[in-house]
Amino acid sequence: MSPATTAAVRLTGATKTFGDALVLDGIDLEVAPGEFLCLLGASGCGKSTLLNLLAGLDRPSSGQVSSGAGRPALMFQDHALFPWLTAGRNVELALQLAGTADRAERRAEAARLLGLVRLGDAYGKRVHTLSGGMRQRVALARALAQGSDLLLMDEPFAALDALTRDVLHEVLIGVWERRRPSVVFVTHDIREAVRLGTRVVLLSSRPGRIAREWRVGIPHPRRAEDATLLGLAREISRDLREEVCRHARD
């Protein structure tokens, strides 16, 4: 098998310009099957743009995107749930569009997925009656419902309080360990990146290039106070600060 087909998704020399602005410049990135890749960078450096390329929602100005997995599942910072459906029906719709034809089967699976994100009793609730964290959990259940081997997440927990975020990290890692999808997790939070990822990729700003990357070999469950993790977080934050300062001088 050629390496192009073993990657879940791969960018080769991808650039993206909006008008005159060069946002992404020559990105080479390969997401291996089953890896948990955290994409880290300052605000506005092009993380979402990169994720949209991986998702096939947008096309690169030059370079290539090749996808080995099927249709990736996507999760945004904003929940993007459909307000005309209940929590359960939102999940069911994803199942339906992914090809589960049987209604009863969809119901059961949607209920199971909501249980997985610890929202077992929210099935019949309308989106607007849920809190921000609950909405984001329904969105996670909906993304999982697609059963995709590639999960693309754009700062999905950025707007949540620390306690809720902790719970969702556990849920996400639990799902990842069981099903082993490839995950690309965009964040600007270094501690979140080292807590979750098996690989952390740092994106520079203006233009967005891959500045550095780290492998994180520590097995899950990871303790937040783990010395190696803390050391790594310090190192990454030094690099990130350098990136930001370099631009402040420009």
Binding site: A73, L74, A80, W84, R118, T129, S131, G132, R137
Partner: protein, 291 residues
């Protein structure tokens, strides 16, 4: 008196369950739904008050002698009763409502697909948007002579006026409602595989539903106005409410004119209150857009 009371101040309060995150605290609480009776009473209050107010002002104006020709509400009611006795009122109502419903249905069948085409195809949009906008601004009164010249004094000319009145507004409304669907929801749908027709069925149409309902309501209003204009100006073999209005004018009967205006107004208000408003409220309520 005991100094230390160790029982909890607020009874059996259990601490909230944090096992699934601290945000259990900021979940919005669902408002209590009032009973059907209470809701009906509440909903009926404002219109009844408005009617009482209008009737009082009208009665006072009639009694004041400032407007010697103005008939009192009672005289107008008499006129309506006479129309009913003479067997004119109900057939005319039936004719007008029948035409309105048929015309509206036809306008929806034409206008909604046309709107979808305009929305979907850039070239169609470029060509048709100015045309539809122009037709939308054209008063029905200007269309009637055109229709009569083309089709004679017939049902066909009445219907063509209704269609020309309602279709442009329906089409433009559909386009507007679909244009306003948030990009994020479109992307979410696309990422889940809702493309092509499935995007319309699962994302675009449901997301645009409040706007689409407003569009239907406006289409109905435009159609109804156009119909009254057409019935007033042309004479079809089977008279509608607009014909009664015209008769009142011919006979110079203020009471008859007032009676038919009241009738036309009442139909508009009733359709609004019994069809469009409840549907709209339901849709908005389910999305948390109604407080």
């Amino acid at each position: 008196m005991p100094v230390t009371d160790l029982s909890p101040v607020r009874g059996e309060d259990v601490p909230p369950d944090f096992s699934s995150g601290a945000d259990v605290l900021d979940s919005p609480t669902a408002p209590a739904v009032p009973t059907l009776f209470r809701r009906s009473v509440k909903r009926a209050t404002a219109p009844v008050l408005a009617a009482v107010f209008v009737l009082s002002v009208w009665q006072l104006a009639a009694l004041s002698g400032l407007f010697p020709r103005l008939p009192s509400p009672v005289a107008v009611l008499d006129e309506l009763a006479k129309l009913l006795r003479d067997g004119i009122l109900l057939p005319a109502l039936g004719q007008s409502l029948g035409r309105a419903v048929t015309g509206f249905a036809a306008a929806v069948l034409l206008g909604v697909p046309l709107g979808l085409l305009v929305y979907r195809y850039g070239a169609v949009r470029t060509v048709l948007t100015p045309v539809l906008a122009a037709f939308q601004s054209l008063p029905a009164a200007a269309l009637v002579p055109l229709a009569v010249v083309a089709f004679g004094e017939s049902e066909r000319s009445v219907y063509s006026v209704v269609l020309l009145g309602a279709v442009p507004s329906l089409s433009m409304g559909v386009v507007g409602a679909l244009d306003q669907v948030p990009v994020l929801l479109r992307r979410a749908g696309r990422a889940m595989g809702a493309t092509g027709l499935r995007a319309y069925r699962h994302v675009l149409v449901p997301a645009a539903l409040p706007g689409l309902i407003a569009t239907l309501r406006q289409g109905w209003t435009f159609g109804w106005r156009a119909l009254m204009t057409a019935e007033l100006i042309t004479s079809t073999p089977l008279p509608g409410v607009g014909r009664i209005l015209d008769t009142g004018k011919q006979e110079d009967s203020f009471a008859l004119v007032m009676a038919s205006v009241a009738l036309i107004l009442a139909i508009g208000v009733l359709v609004e209150a019994m069809v469009f408003r409840p549907v709209e409220k339901r849709v908005l309520y389910h999305r948390g857009l109604l407080v």
